[in-house]
Amino acid sequence: MKNQQYSANRWIQHTLFMTVITVAVFTSCNKYLDAKPDQSIATPSTIEDLEGILNNYNFVNAKYSSAPEVSSDDYYLTGTDWASLPDYQRAYYTWQKFNGPIGDYTSPYSAIEYANIIMESLEKINGASPVRINAVRGNALYLRASYHYALAQVFAPAYNKNTADSDQGIALRLTADIAVKPKRSTIGENYNQIITDLTKAAPLLPDYPDQKFRASKPAAYGMLARVYLAMGDYGNAGKYADAALKLYNKLINYNTVSTTATIPFRQFNDEVIYDSRTGIPPALANTKAKIDTLLFSSYAPNDLRRTVIFKTNADGSRAFKGSYTGVNNASAFTGIATNELYFIKAECAVRANDISIGLATLNTVLSTRWKTGTYQPVTITDAGVLLKTVLAERRKDLLFRTLRWTDLRRLNLEADHRQEIRRILNGTSYKLEPGSPRYVFQIDQNAVELGGLPQNP
C-alpha cells in the first residue's frame, strides 16, 4: 500500500503538470484561433479593401448587359452564322421571347450587390481620410445607379412620364442583405432612385477623371445626362451634358488614328470619361456581325469613320472595330465618352430651338471625324431637319455602345421619329414594331420561380 501511496503522489504531480499545460494552451486559444485561415481571404474592413473591390474591373466595370445591342438594328447576321448561335442569342436577334436564366439579368445585379456591400462596409470603417471615403461612396452610388439604369433599359419599358408611376419597372436593390426579398418597383421609382444616387454621388467624386475606370464628377453628370435623355427630359439632359463637358471636353481628331490597326483606339482614350463595357456575345463577334449596308453607305467618302471604325471583310461586308474599350474586339463600350455628351448637348439644344448652340456642338464633333480640310460644317437651320441630322450622326458615332436600343425605345414615343425595324433571315422576315412588348426582355426565370417576381409580358 505504501508503494501505491507513493505512486499516487507522483501521479498527482504529473496530473497537475499536464493540467497547467492544458490550461495555458486554452487561455491563449481564442487568440490562437483568430488567425486568418487564408492570408488572401478576409472580410472587408479597411478603405484599401473597398478600393480594391473598385479595382475589380471585371466585376465592377464589365457587368453591363449586351442583350440590347444584340437586338438592335446596326448590324445583321447571315443565316449560317445565326444558326451557329446559342438559342438565347438567336431569340434575341429575331425578337422572340426567351425564358431562362440569363447573364444579362444576373450580371448587373451582381455589380449592384458589390456596390451595396461597399456602401454598407463603409459604415464600419474608421480612420480613413474623408476624401477617400467620399470617393468610394461616390463610386458605389454611381455604380448602383448606372447598373439600375442599364437594367431598366432591358427589363422595363421606356420611360413615359404619363404612365411612369404605374408601369412595372425593375427591382431596385438598395441593400446587400441577400435575405431581403426583391420586389419590382414602378418605372417612376426606378428613375427617381437612379437620379437620387447620381445626384448624391456627383459632389463626392473628383472633378477630373484621372483614373478612367473610376467614376468622376463629369462621369456622374454624363450619366445624369444619359438618364434624363432616356426619360425625354431634354432640359435636364442638356444641362448635365453641358456640366460634364465643362469639366472635361477632349475630342480625338480621327486624322491621328490608324486606319489599318485591328484595334484603333486605346483603352482610356482621350474621349473616355468613364470606362465600362459588356462582353461581346457570339452574335456580335466581329467575324459574324456585319454592318447594316444602309448605315454604312451613309458615311461620306471623306468621313474617316469609314476606315477607322470599320474593316472590310473578305466578302465585301463591313465589320466594326472601333470600340472605345481599346482592349480587344470582344467587348463593347458602355461607359461615358465626350462624343456622346456632345450629341446629347446638340440634340437638347436643337429640341430647345437653340439652333446656334446645336449647330456649333454638332460641328465641333464632326469636324474631328473628317479628313483634314474636307469637312463642310452643317448649316441647317430648320429645327426638325436639324434634329434628324443630329440623331443620324449620333447613331453613326455611337455604334455598339448599347445606346441604339434606348434611342429606339425613346424615339418610338415621338410620332416624328418612330420606326419599325426589320430583319430578314433565311428568307423569313422579322419585324419589331414601336411599342412592341418585345422591347422589354423576359427577366431571369430563376427570379420568377425563386423570387416570385412577376414576369414581363
Binding site: N30, I41, G52
Partner: protein, 1180 residues
C-alpha cells in the same frame, strides 16, 4: 478499493482541477478529463481476470463439471491418465467464478492438479515431489522474475501475475517483465485480457520464466485495431472497424497505398470515373462539399497532411478503417466520412538484427488508343465537307489569326479560291482519309511502361532499445513519353526504455520525389478553345521531322506573320516533347516524437509531437524553341520596317511554383487501463490536442531567363503594349507572381472510455470538442461537441448459450455524431485579394467570394451501427454482419438564389442525406490439408438519398448522368435520370420523347416535364459491391485471385451529340449507324444528323432513357502467385525467400449486365493495359 488515507488527496486534486477549470471557461472539454481522472482515482486494485464459469448444482460428477467448462469457456479438458476418476462427485456453487478457481476447488480434494495449454486443460494426479515435502518444513522465499509475451514475442505490459497461494499480485511492466515474491511450491497465475491464463508452480532452482500467453479463440480475435489514439482489442471494441493486415496489403504491387486497399476493404468504394480525381467513399456520401467525401487519413497518430501517394506501402504494417461513429468520432469534425488509420511498421520484439528485402518490376504495354470510341476519320472528313458547303467555317476566314482550321477546311477553301482544282482537292482530301492521328500518337507519344520498386528494412533490439530502419526506391515511367517519377523514402523508428516506466519513441520519415512531365499530351489532349487536333492530323512530316498542327492560329497567319522577322509561330507536338523541360521535386520530412510515462500500473501519460514539412517545386523552363516562349515573345514583338523590337526579351521564360506545407501537432493524453475484482475492466483515454497546418506558395514567371548565367532580364509590367497586328489588342506583360498563405488551426479535447463487465458486456462512450479558425473571425461558430456511445454483448459467454456450432457470437450497437469540415466558409462577407496580373487594369484588386451567411453551422453526421460477429464450425468460418444508418444534416450546399439579390448561388446549411446499408465479411477456410484454400468474401450495400434540400433546384426536365453530386429531394445524389424515349420519327429520323403521354418532338416542352414523368434509372455508383478473394496454398506455392462485383447501378453510354460534334469535333462510333433513310429506325436509335443543329434536340437524345444501361458486372482484375523457399534449404544467412508474380488491371469481365458491349469502368477513355509484376522478398 479506495484506501482511507488516499481519499483526502482525491478531493484535493479535484479541487485544484475545478479551480483551474473555472479559469478556462472557454474550453469545457476539460470536464471530460476531470471526470475521467476522478473516476480513475477510485480504482486501485489488481486481480486477475480470466475465463469464468457459472454452475450451481449439488453432488455432480467431475465429468459434468468438465462438460460445463467446455460449453461455457470453450476449453477442452484432457485427462492425462486413466487413474483420474471423473465420476468423483463435488458440490458446484459457482457464479462467474474464474476457471482457475473452479479447477482448484474441484480438483484439489481429489489430489488432482492441472495445467492449461492453449485452450486445453490437462488434468493429472499430483505427483508428490521432494520440494513439496521440504516446503512443509522450511518456507524458502524466492523472487520469481520473468517476462510475459505473446506468441510472436511482443511484450505484454500490464499482464497480471498472481501468487494464488499467497494471494498477492502485481502487473507486468511496460516491457512485459515482472518480479514477484513467492515460496517454492506456490502456484503463480499469469493472466492477460484476451489470452489464456497460465499457471505454474514455483520451483527453487528456476526463478526466471519466459511466459508465452496464447490468445483465446481464433485468429480473428487477436485483432487489435488502432484508432490513432489508442489500440483497442477487437473483443472490447463496440465500433465498426475493419482491419487490413500486412499480408493482405503485400499481395499487391503498387507504389501507393490507396491502390492497395481498394477492393479489399469492406464498405469502401473508390470512384474512379474521373481519372484525374479518384474519390474515396466510405459507406456512401455524407457531404455535398465538392471533393469532400474522402475519409480522413491518419498516419500513426496524426492526420497525414502530405500527399498520400508519398507513403511507401512497404513501410505499412496494417490499416484500420473506422467506419461508424463509435470508431471514428474520436476524430471529431473530420470524421464524418470515416477514418483510415495507417500504422507503420514498428521496431518490436527482442530479436537480433533482421533484414528484409523486397524488389519488383512491373511492366505494361502501351495503351491501345484504338480501344477508345471515336467517330471514324472518313466520316469526320465528310462532315467537314458538308459543313464547309453550308458556310459553317466562313467566319473563320474573316479572322486574320485565330483559331486554326483543319487541313480539309483549308483544302476546300483553297479550292473555292481557285488555288486548287476539283481533282487536286479531292485527291488531297482522300489521301487524308487513310490517316489516323492515333497511329502517330501511339508511335511517338506513348511507350511501354516499366516500374521498379526496391525496399530494404533492418530491425533489431538491444536491451533497452528497439530500432527499425528502412529505405525504399521507386521509379515509375508513365505511358506518356517524357513523364516519369522517382521516389526515395527513408525511415527510422526507435523505442528507448529510459526506465521501466518511461519510454521514448521516435519516428522519422524522409521522402524525396522528383519527376518530369515533358509530354505535350496524349489522346484527347491538344485542344484550344473550340478547336482540337484533327483526327487525320500527322505528328511527323514525310522526312521524319516534327509536324505542325494548326491549333492556335491558322496556317496562313503562321506562314506569313512578320515576313520572317518574327520567331517561328508554329506548334509542333513532337518538338514540344523534345524541348519541354518541366521538372518537379518534393522533399517531405516527418518527425514524430513521443514519450510515455507509466505513472501507475494502470495509468499512463503520453505526450506526442509531430512535425511535418514538405517543400515542393515545379520548374517549367520554356526555351526559345518551345512554343510557349515563341508565341509569347511574338505576340509583343514590334516590327517597324527592318527594326525588330522585343518587348518580351528574346530569351527563355521560366515558370516556377514553390510550395511549402507545414503541419505541427501536439497531443497530451492520459491512458487508463485497469481491471479489478476479476470482472471489471475500464479502459479510457482523455487528452488535448493542438494542431496547425500551414501552406505557403509562390508562383513566379521570369522573362529573359538564362539558365547558364542565372540572369533575368527585367520587363515592364506597368505599361500596355500593342500586340502583333493588334491580334490581342493592347496588353500588359503578365506578371505571374502570386503568393498564397493559409493557416488552419485546431484545438481539440477528447475522451473515450469503455467499461467491460465479466468479459461479456462492454459499454463505450466518447466525446470530443473541436475548435478551429477555419470559419473565420467570428468565434461563436468555432466549437462543436461531438460524441458517441456503444455497447458490446458477447452472447456466447452467457450460460444459456448452447450453440456448439457457433462458438462465438457478439452483438455490437453504437450511435454517435461526427462532423465534416467545410473549409473556406464564413459567416461574414468574404473577400479575396487578387494579384494585378489577373486584372485588366494591372492593379491588385479584391474579389467578393461569398455573401454574408450568419447562420453557418458545422455539418454533422449521425451514425447508428449494429454489428454481429460470429464464428462457425470450429472457427473454420468467421465473419461479421453490420447494419447502419447515417443521417448527415446541415450539409452545406450551393443554394440557388433569386439572382436579383446579386448572387446566383450561395453556400448554406441546406441539405440532409440519409444513408442505410450493411457490410458483410465472411472468411472461411474451405480446405485445410495439403492444399489449403481460404476465401474472403466482402459484401457491402449502401443506399443513400437526399432527404432535405432547401430551395431545391427546379426539377422541370431534370436529367442527369450522375457524374457529379447533385442533390435532388428523395433521390440519390448521383442519380441518373432521363427523358422518356419514344423512338425515332420514321419520316426524318428525329428523336421523339413524350409530352403529356403523347409522342412529341417539342423538345422545349419535353425539357419542362416534371421529374415524375422522367425515367429515373438509379444511381451511377453501385449500391451493392464487394469482392471474393481466394487464396490457395499448396506446398510452397500460394495463389490469390480477387473477383470484384458491383451491382445495382447504371451508366449513360456516350453518344454523338451533333452540336458537340460540329462545335468541338467530338463524336463516337454510333455516328455510323445514324438514321439516314426511312426504315433505319428499325435498326438504330441514333437520330439523323442535322445542320444547323438544334441544341435542344441533341440534349434530348443525349439524355434520353435509351442511352442508359445497367452497369452491373463481375470482374477478375488481379492474380497474385508466390513461391516460398523453405528455410530447410539452408541458404546460409537467409531466413526466408519468396518469389512472386502479380497481374493487375486484367479487367477480365466475367459477367456484365449491359448488352451494348461496354465496360462501364472504361466508357469514354482508353482501356488501361494489363500490368504484370515480378518480384522477390527475402529475410536475412
Amino acid at each position: 478499493m479506495t484506501t482511507p488515507n488516499e481519499a483526502p488527496e482525491d478531493i484535493g486534486v479535484l479541487g485544484v482541477l475545478c479551480g483551474l477549470h473555472a479559469a478556462s471557461k472557454s474550453c469545457y472539454g476539460l470536464k471530460f478529463t476531470v471526470t475521467i481522472l476522478f473516476f480513475s482515482l477510485l480504482q486501485v486494485s489488481a486481480t486477475s481476470l480470466a475465463q469464468t464459469l457459472t454452475l450451481k448444482q449439488r453432488d455432480i460428477t467431475l465429468e459434468k463439471v468438465f462438460t460445463e467448462i467446455r460449453k461455457q469457456t470453450g476449453y477442452d479438458v484432457l485427462l492425462s491418465a486413466k487413474k483420474v476418476n471423473t465420476h468423483s462427485r463435488v458440490n458446484a456453487d459457482f457464479n462467474h467464478t474464474p476457471l482457475t478457481e473452479v479447477l482448484d476447488k474441484c480438483l484439489n480434494r481429489f489430489n488432482l492438479t492441472y495445467t492449461i495449454e492453449e485452450k486445453t486443460i490437462v488434468v493429472a494426479y499430483k505427483e508428490p515431489i521432494v520440494i513439496d515435502k521440504i516446503k512443509s518444513v522450511f518456507a524458502i522465499p524466492i523472487v520469481v522474475t520473468g517476462i510475459v509475451t505473446d506468441t510472436v514475442g511482443t511484450a505484454l505490459p500490464d499482464a497480471t501475475v498472481r501468487n494464488i497461494t499467497q494471494n498477492t499480485s502485481i502487473s507486468t511492466t511496460i516491457d512485459g517483465s515482472f518480479n514477484i515474491r513467492a515460496q517454492a511450491g506456490d502456484q503463480i497465475n499469469v493472466s492477460f485480457i484476451g489470452y489464456t491464463t497460465y499457471t505454474f508452480i514455483v520451483r527453487e532452482n528456476q526463478s526466471y520464466h519466459i511466459i508465452i500467453l496464447h490468445s483465446f479463440n481464433s485468429k480473428l480475435n487477436e485483432v487489435i485495431v488502432n484508432t490513432g489514439y489508442q489500440d483497442i482489442p477487437k473483443e472490447r471494441a463496440t465500433g465498426s472497424f475493419y482491419k487490413l493486415d500486412n499480408k493482405v496489403l503485400n499481395q499487391r504491387v503498387s507504389p501507393d497505398i490507396l491502390s492497395r486497399i481498394e477492393g479489399l476493404t469492406s464498405g469502401l468504394l473508390i470512384d474512379r470515373r474521373d481519372p484525374q480525381q479518384a474519390n474515396i467513399l466510405l459507406r456512401g456520401v455524407s457531404t455535398l462539399i465538392f471533393n469532400g467525401s474522402s475519409p480522413l487519413i491518419v498516419l500513426d497518430n496524426f492526420p497525414y497532411s502530405g500527399d498520400v501517394n508519398n507513403i511507401n506501402p512497404n513501410d505499412i504494417e496494417s490499416i484500420s478503417v473506422l467506419k461508424d461513429a463509435a470508431a471514428s468520432s474520436i476524430w471529431g469534425v473530420r470524421a464524418g466520412n470515416g477514418v483510415i488509420v495507417i500504422t507503420t511498421k514498428k521496431a518490436t520484439g527482442n530479436q537480433a538484427l533482421s533484414v528484409s528485402f523486397n524488389a519488383n518490376l512491373t511492366f505494361a504495354k502501351k495503351p491501345d488508343l484504338f480501344s477508345a470510341n471515336q467517330i471514324p476519320v472518313s466520316s469526320f472528313i465528310d462532315l467537314e465537307k458538308m459543313l464547309f458547303d453550308k458556310g459553317y467555317y466562313d467566319g473563320l476566314f474573316n479572322d486574320q489569326a485565330s483559331p486554326g482550321y483543319s487541313q480539309v477546311v483549308d483544302i476546300l477553301n483553297r479550292q473555292r479560291n481557285g488555288e486548287l482544282n476539283q481533282v487536286e482537292a479531292d485527291e488531297a482530301i482522300n489521301s487524308l482519309r487513310g490517316r489516323d492521328v492515333r497511329n502517330d500518337m501511339q508511335n511517338y507519344l506513348y511507350r511501354n511502361t516499366v516500374n521498379q520498386q526496391y525496399y530494404v528494412n533492418l530491425t533489431g533490439a538491444g536491451t533497452r532499445i528497439r530500432y527499425l530502419f528502412s529505405a525504399g526506391y521507386d521509379k515509375n515511367l508513365s505511358a506518356l513519353q517524357g513523364n516519369q517519377s522517382d521516389r526515395i523514402t527513408l525511415r527510422s523508428n526507435s523505442t528507448v526504455d529510459l526506465t521501466k516506466k518511461w519510454q521514448l519513441q521516435s519516428d522519422i520519415i524522409l521522402t524525396k520525389t522528383k519527376g518530369t512531365s515533358n509530354s505535350p499530351g496524349g489522346f484527347g489532349s491538344f485542344k484550344a478553345g473550340y478547336n482540337s487536333i484533327s483526327p487525320y492530323a500527322s505528328l511527323v512530316n514525310a522526312d521524319g521531322s516534327p509536324a505542325a498542327i494548326d491549333l492556335y492560329y491558322n496556317r496562313a497567319f503562321t506562314d506569313t506573320a512578320g515576313n520572317g522577322k518574327l520567331m517561328d509561330w508554329k506548334y509542333r507536338p513532337l518538338q514540344e516533347l523534345r524541348n519541354n523541360d518541366n521538372r518537379s521535386g518534393m522533399t517531405d520530412i516527418l518527425v514524430n516524437l513521443g514519450t510515455s510515462y507509466r505513472i501507475l500500473p494502470w495509468l499512463k501519460a503520453d505526450f506526442r509531437y509531430q512535425y511535418q514539412q514538405s517543400w515542393s517545386s515545379t520548374e517549367n523552363l520554356q526555351n526559345l524553341d518551345s512554343y510557349t516562349a515563341r508565341d509569347y515573345i511574338n505576340r509583343f514583338t514590334q516590327i517597324n520596317g527592318n527594326a525588330v523590337t522585343y518587348i518580351v526579351p528574346k530569351n527563355n521564360i521560366l515558370y516556377s511554383f514553390e510550395q511549402n506545407n507545414r503541419q505541427q501537432g501536439s497531443r497530451g493524453q492520459l491512458n487508463f487501463d485497469h481491471k479489478w475484482a476479476s470482472k471489471h475492466q475500464v479502459s479510457a483515454i482523455a487528452g488535448v490536442e493542438v494542431r496547425e497546418t500551414s501552406n505557403n506558395s509562390l508562383t513566379s514567371t521570369y522573362y529573359g531567363y538564362d539558365p547558364n548565367t542565372l540572369i533575368v532580364t527585367p520587363v515592364d509590367y506597368t505599361h500596355m503594349y500593342p500586340t502583333f497586328n493588334g491580334v490581342f489588342g493592347d496588353r500588359y506583360i503578365t506578371d505571374g507572381t502570386m503568393f498564397t498563405q493559409t493557416v488552419n488551426r485546431f484545438i481539440s479535447t477528447f475522451a473515450n472510455a469503455s467499461y467491460t463487465y465479466n468479459e461479456k458486456y462492454t459499454l463505450s462512450a466518447s466525446a470530443r470538442r473541436d475548435a478551429s479558425n477555419i470559419f473565420g473571425v467570428s468565434t461563436n461558430q468555432k466549437g462543436v461537441p461531438l460524441w458517441s456511445v456503444g455497447g458490446l454483448w458477447r452472447i456466447n459467454r452467457e450460460s444459456f448459450y448452447k450453440l456448439d456450432w457457433m462458438p462465438q457470437l457478439n452483438l455490437r450497437l453504437t450511435y454517435g455524431v461526427s462532423g465534416n469540415l467545410a473549409a473556406n466558409e464564413s459567416a461574414l462577407t468574404r473577400i479575396q485579394y487578387l494579384a494585378a496580373s489577373r486584372s485588366p487594369l494591372n492593379l491588385p484588386y479584391v474579389g467578393i467570394s461569398a455573401p454574408p451567411n450568419p447562420h453557418l453551422r458545422w455539418e454533422q453526421v449521425r451514425t447508428f451501427n449494429a454489428g454481429l460477429d460470429f464464428s462457425l464450425l470450429g472457427n473454420r468460418i468467421t465473419g461479421s454482419f453490420e447494419y447502419y444508418t447515417k443521417k448527415s444534416v446541415d450539409l452545406i450546399n450551393s443554394v440557388l438564389l433569386d439572382p436579383t439579390v446579386g448572387f446566383i448561388t450561395a453556400n448554406q446549411n441546406s441539405a440532409s442525406i440519409f444513408a442505410k446499408g450493411s457490410d458483410v465479411v465472411i472468411n472461411s477456410l474451405n480446405i485445410d490439408g495439403k492444399v489449403r484454400w481460404q476465401s474472403s468474401l466482402l459484401f457491402s450495400y449502401v443506399n443513400y438519398k437526399t432527404v432535405k434540400n432547401l430551395n431545391p433546384p427546379g426539377l422541370e426536365g431534370f436529367v442527369s448522368d450522375g457524374a457529379i453530386i447533385f442533390p435532388v429531394l428523395n433521390y440519390n445524389p448521383y442519380v441518373i435520370a432521363s427523358y422518356k424515349w419514344a423512338g425515332l420519327d420514321p419520316l426524318n429520323g428525329d428523336p421523339q420523347g413524350y409530352v403529356n403521354g403523347k409522342a412529341s418532338k417539342d423538345y422545349l416542352a419535353i425539357a419542362q416535364n416534371p421529374i415524375e414523368q422522367q425515367v429515373v434509372s438509379g444511381p451511377a455508383l453501385p449500391p451493392f459491391f464487394g469482392n471474393l478473394r481466394n487464396t490457395i496454398e499448396w506446398n510452397k506455392l500460394s495463389l490469390t485471385f480477387n473477383i470484384s462485383y458491383r451491382f445495382g447501378y447504371y451508366f449513360r453510354k456516350p453518344v454523338t451529340n451533333y452540336s458537340t460534334l460540329i462545335t468541338y469535333g467530338t463524336g463516337y462510333n454510333d455516328y455510323e449507324s445514324r438514321w439516314q433513310k426511312p426504315g433505319d429506325e428499325r435498326f438504330t436509335n441514333t437520330p439523323s444528323s442535322n445542320y444547323p443543329s438544334d441544341t435542344q434536340r441533341e440534349l434530348f437524345y443525349q439524355y434520353s432513357s435509351v442511352n442508359v444501361e445497367k452497369a452491373d458486372n463481375m470482374k477478375l482484375n488481379e492474380v497474385y502467385l508466390s513461391y516460398d523457399f523453405s528455410p530447410k534449404r539452408k541458404i546460409p544467412g537467409v531466413k526466408s525467400l519468396q518469389f512472386y508474380v502479380f497481374a493487375n488491371q486484367l479487367n477480365i469481365i466475367l459477367w456484365k449486365a449491359n448488352k451494348a458491349g461496354l465496360d462501364p469502368d472504361v466508357l469514354y477513355s482508353i482501356k488501361p493495359p494489363a500490368a504484370f509484376s515480378a518480384g522477390i522478398k527475402a529475410t536475412f
